[in-house]
C-alpha cells in the first residue's frame, strides 16, 4: 500500500483489461480427491487452490471435543512453491490469522450442533498464489463442505474489493494489491447477505469504504452462482467405481 506512483490504469482499464467492477475468471470443480470426504479445486485468476474436508468424525484428542457441537478446524496453507520466494513450510502468523477468521466464518453456516463431540476438518492448500488467496480458499472450502454432504444453512462466498490508483475496484490483482491504497476482503452468506468475514487495511474515507463493501458484496453474489454450478455438476456425476467398493466394505462392517 506504499507506492501509489505506479500506474495501475491504462486507457481507463485495469492492467489486465478488467473494468473496475469486474472479477477475474473463476473456475470451481467439486469432488477432485479420492481420500477426502469432500473436496474442491478452484482457479481464480492465476490463483490455484485445493480444499479437502474430513468429517464429521470423532474429535481427537478428546479433551478438545465439545459436548454441544462439532469442532470445526480450518488450515490455510501456502505450498512452498506457491510464491516467488520459496515459503518455508508450516504455519506462520499470517496463515494462523487467516485460518482463525475463516473458521469463524464457516461456523456461522455449518450445522455444528448436529454433531456433538465431533470434528470437521477443512484443509486449504494454496498451490499458486496471485492475490486474494484467503477469499479463494474460503469460497472453495464451502463448496468442499457441501461436497462432503455436511449440512449447512447456506454457502459462504468470499471476495475482496479495495482501492487502487485512486479508484474503488473489485477483486484486486497482484499489482493492485501490492501498490494499491486499500484492501477489503469480505465473505457473506448469500441468501441473507450477512457479512461473516470482514477485514480491511489501507486508507478509505467513509464514502469509499461504503462503495467498496457494496462492490465486494456484489462480487460475492456472482461467485455464489459459480459455486452452485460447480455443485450441480458434481451431483450429476456418477460416483467413481472405487468409491463403490468403499461403500460395500462399510456395509459388511454394519452387518457384523
Amino acid at each position: 500500500m506504499k507506492n501509489p506512483g505506479i500506474e495501475l490504469f491504462k486507457d481507463g482499464k485495469r492492467l489486465d483489461g478488467r473494468k473496475v467492477d469486474e472479477l477475474r475468471p473463476i473456475k470451481i470443480e467439486a469432488g477432485v480427491l479420492e481420500r477426502a470426504d469432500g473436496s474442491a479445486y478452484l482457479e481464480w485468476g492465476a490463483n490455484k487452490v485445493l480444499v479437502a474436508v474430513y468429517g464429521p468424525k470423532e474429535c481427537l484428542p478428546r479433551h478438545l471435543s465439545d459436548p454441544y457441537k462439532a469442532v470445526l478446524t480450518y488450515r490455510y496453507n501456502m505450498a512452498p512453491f506457491s510464491v516467488d520466494d520459496r515459503k518455508r513450510p508450516g504455519p506462520d502468523r499470517r496463515s494462523t490469522e487467516i485460518s482463525k477468521i475463516s473458521a469463524e466464518a464457516l461456523e456461522k453456516v455449518v450445522l455444528l450442533e448436529q454433531f456433538p463431540n465431533s470434528m470437521i476438518k477443512v484443509f486449504c492448500e494454496v498451490l499458486q498464489a496471485d492475490a486474494g488467496t484467503r477469499c479463494a480458499s474460503l469460497t472453495a472450502a464451502s463448496v468442499a463442505l457441501a461436497d462432503a454432504g455436511i449440512p449447512m444453512r447456506d454457502l459462504v462466498a468470499s471476495c475482496a474489493a479495495g482501492k487502487a490508483g485512486g479508484e474503488v475496484i473489485l477483486d484486486l490483482g497482484k499489482k493492485e494489491d501490492n501498490f494499491g491504497e486499500a484492501d477489503v476482503p469480505i465473505a457473506i452468506t448469500p441468501h441473507d447477505e450477512e457479512i461473516v468475514l470482514f477485514q480491511m487495511d489501507g486508507a478509505l474515507s467513509k464514502e469509499e469504504f461504503q462503495k467498496a463493501v457494496s462492490l465486494a458484496k456484489q462480487g460475492c453474489k456472482t461467485i455464489h452462482e459459480i459455486q452452485k454450478a460447480a455443485l450441480k455438476k458434481r451431483f450429476e456425476q456418477v460416483k467413481p467405481p472405487i468409491k463403490a467398493v468403499k461403500t460395500e466394505i462399510k456395509k459388511s462392517e454394519v452387518s457384523k
Binding site: 506504499k2 477468521i101 457479512i195 470482514f198 480491511m200 487495511d201 478509505l204 467513509k206 469504504f209 457494496s214
Partner: protein, 261 residues
Amino acid sequence: MSSEEIKWEVKSDYIHALAQKGIRQDNRKTDEYRKIQITPNYIPHAPGSALVKIGATQVLVGVSMGVGTPYPDSQASGVLMTGCELVPMASPSFESGPPRPPAIELARVVDRGIRESNSIDFDKLCITEGEAVWMVMIDLHILDYAGNLFDAAELASIAALYNTKMPKYEDGKVIREETSGKLPLLKKPIECTFVKIGNMIMLDPMLEEEKSLDARITLATTEDSSLCAAQKGGNGSFTEKEIMDTFDIAVEKGKDLRKLI
C-alpha cells in the same frame, strides 16, 4: 464440563438476557468506554513504553529499538515488528508457550492499525539505504485480561510510540545510553472494538460481554476520519448497515481518545 465452564455458561445466559432488554451488566451506554488510564513511560529503562488500563484490563507495551537490514522491497524504510504474549498471569485460560491464534490475531491487528495509517514515518528510519535501518519492536504484554484487549493494546502502543526516544547510532553501533531525539511519527490511529450480542452492539466489551459475544468488530481510524484497519471476529455476522454505524462511532470516539495521548 468444568465448574469454570459452567460458571461462564450461566454468566453468558445472564448477559444475553440483559442485552435483550438493551442493558449492560455495568449499566454503561452502548457507546461508552470504561474508565481509561494511560501511564506513559512506565518502563523508563526502555526506549518507549506505556501502561494502559481500561476498566480492570491492563496492558503494558514496551518499544525496543534496534538496527537491522531493510526488507528487499523497501530498501529505504524502517521496519516494524509487533509481538504479543498473552502472559499466563493475565487469565486462567492463557498458557505458557508460543503465541496461539488469539495472541497472533491481536498482534497483527494492532500492527496493521499502526502500519496502514503510516503512524510511523518509516522513511526517516533509514540509516543507509539497503543496508541499515531502524527496527521498531513493539511488545504487547497483557497483564490482566478483563475484556477488550484490542483497544487497550493499540492505545498503549500508540502512547508508547509517542514517548519513544531514539538511541544514538554511531560507527555502526547502537549507543543505548544516549538519545538522538524522538521517534518520527505522523499519525495516531485509534482502534474501537464493538461486540454484538443478540441484536445489541456495544463498544468496549468487558470480559463477560466478550465471553458471550456473537460477533466482534474492530475499526481503526485516523485524524482525518478515515478507516485504516478493520477486523471482524466471532462466529456471528454483521449487516452492512451495522458496520457503517460502528464506523461513525469509531470516528467520534477516536477523536476523544486521541486527546489522551
